[in-house]
């Protein structure tokens, strides 16, 4: 069963974009933010396809094409570690290792409390402060282990 409240919210998003098919990417981005879990549910895809009158498979195409979309629930905060060359030469691999150690999860996983998901991102334009990560919409740079522990604490609200 589709949660009627979510359905209503999805329709509101579609209305916000004047039901334009061309706004599918924008709609999906907004829908992904509807819950704390940063993902797009199968059922919601059906609603979007029907409301925008786009073949289901075409919505699925867009959903799987762009790396920012997820069809699986993720953590409340997505920690995205830049995987690009400028961060790589500034030893981003070590940053990955620290996050994995501090959070106790591997790359691509979500913490048990569903607070954090650890994943890679392509360049976030923070090469001047590399190695850099993005948490939600915030960017952190020049990372050290101490700094990372602090950041995680902050998000956990400890």
């Amino acid at each position: 069963m589709v949660n009627q409240e979510i359905k209503q919210k999805i329709i509101e998003i579609i209305e916000k974009y004047k039901r334009e098919k061309e706004k599918l990417v924008m709609v999906l981005l907004d829908v992904q933010k509807l819950t704390e879990f940063n993902y797009i549910d199968r059922e919601w895809v059906n609603i979007i396809a029907e409301e925008l009158d786009i073949p289901y498979t075409k919505v699925y195409d867009v959903l799987t094409f762009y790396s920012m979309f997820s069809t699986k629930p993720r953590g409340k905060y997505i920690i995205e570690i830049c995987k690009s060359a400028p961060c790589h030469v500034n030893k981003s691999k070590e940053v990955v290792a620290i996050f994995e150690e501090v959070l106790g999860i591997k790359m691509g996983e979500t913490t048990e409390d569903k607070i954090f998901t650890l994943q890679y991102t392509s360049c976030i334009g923070a090469c001047d402060i590399s190695p850099a990560v993005k948490i939600g919409e915030k960017v952190y740079g020049n990372l050290t282990k101490e700094k990372i522990i602090e950041i995680i604490k902050e998000y956990r609200g400890v």
């Binding site: 895809v45 289901y56 498979t57 075409k58 699925y60 195409d61 799987t64 094409f65 069809t71």
Partner: protein
Amino acid sequence: MVNVKINNIPVSVEEGSTILEAAKKVGVEIPTLCYHEDQSVKANCRICLVEVKGAKGLVTACSTKVTEGMEIYTNTKKARDARKTVLELILASHPMDCLKCIRNQKCELQKYAAEFFIEELPFEITYQMIEKDESSPAIVKDLSKCIKCGRCVEVCQSIQTVGAIAYSHRSDEYRIATLFELPLYETVCVHCGQCSLACPVGAIYEKSEIEKVWRALGDPEMHVIVQTAPAVRVSIGEEFGLEPGSIVTGKMVTALKMLGFDKVFDTDFTADLTIIEEGNEFLQRLEKGGPFPMFTSCSPGWINFVERFYPEFIHNLSTCKSPQQMFGALAKTYYAEKIGIPKEKIFVVSIMPCTAKKYEAAREEMKSSGVRDVDVVLTTRELARMIRESGIDLKKLPESEYDLPFGITSGAGVIFGASGGVMEAAIRTVYEIVTKKELQKLDFKDVRGLEGIKEATVNINGLSIKVAVVNSLGKARELLEKIKKGEADYHFVEVMCCPGGCIGGGGQPIGTVNRVRQERIEAIYEVDRNMPIRQSHKNPVIWTLYEEFLGEPLSEKSHNLLHIGTVH
């Protein structure tokens, strides 16, 4: 005209021609995989690379238009090496189990592998096994073999507007996918099989039921009978090297007899019967005032399409079953009684140009005899395989006649195989029933041909009957949208799911392109012209059937056996 040189040979081609087309004119076949003559240019496989003097790097012949004075070189070392490397890259992620592949010797990729002779691949083998999708009763999808040319997607999305499959993901994950990778059976797929015709390799194909037929033929307890659809007689010759449009009715009947079928019947007979039932249904609707338009119901892909996308039009569909299913129902009732064999011992095989017929025959409501009316549906391709497996060369066979009683047919029955045929057949009969006058001219050329939407107005006893004929689901969608908007008001509409009608069906020989469809259409009308009877109501056996068994058109018995409750 544009003058160009291909490998130093001057050639003059029409403006707007591609290098590929120009090269063909001087006898140079540039390899292609994603190119399909009836589709848009995709240029994604990159195997048609050639050199053009003055151009930066190589160009794709399929997408590059010729310009005046262009000098094209198709066989320089650079071009040959590049094409070979592209082929090697494709092969590195292809299973290369050609011996076990349904498209063995009918595969475009295999053909190039043979021509290029690649002894050893210089690349890592990156092919990954993906489980086959065998959920559909009609079509098998084997993504392991997919070379991602996109031809199936264009057919499904643009020509049929079904959209069961589309591109998804990217890079190595890039694939032809259903919604959330659901099995085909759970998607909006109408099982038309046009994708299987478009596929250059063995990634989408008909679900083979040959084994079931061999088993029945080998069972001495079973009375195995076969019906052949109108469109098969003008296409199966291609499987044996004959020119498109070759008429091989008699040879095909001989082949079927040689395979061991007890009786060989003609679906044209039940096509004639359909005309009587559907014609009367139409007259009844005229009396009752609707619902209009009445849509034909013999194309199972079309029925699926209405059910999935336009359920509001279900009541507009004629309640008549398709000729295939009428045949099955009669075979296990009337015929069974007539020859004194219980229906359980009769095995009905259909030879159809269609994959959706497999889906149709498997429907729950297609058991009006009490058991499954049609046991197995084989496509034209499958029958050809059985004939080849038996070592029979169709070309060389003598001709035989269909068996009685379902072997006497009319020209109206045979034209069911081409878009417009059902309409024309109906008019040939309805006109005479209503006016009680003989038609002077039997040919209704307005409704014939490959064009997507054809319209005509027929004057019957002062009443103007507006008819339309549609082929391909994309065109059907267009028409339905017009009707929904109140922009069209037809009385009777014939819809065929596949481009060109059944002669272009998804079960037809590989290589079914519009050019070939045109040849088959001409052949169908040639068969019609040469028939002694050309109108369904003039088929005497039809009336024998009514006398002996059904009573009269639209009788209760007809309803039980030949029609479907209004909800399909």
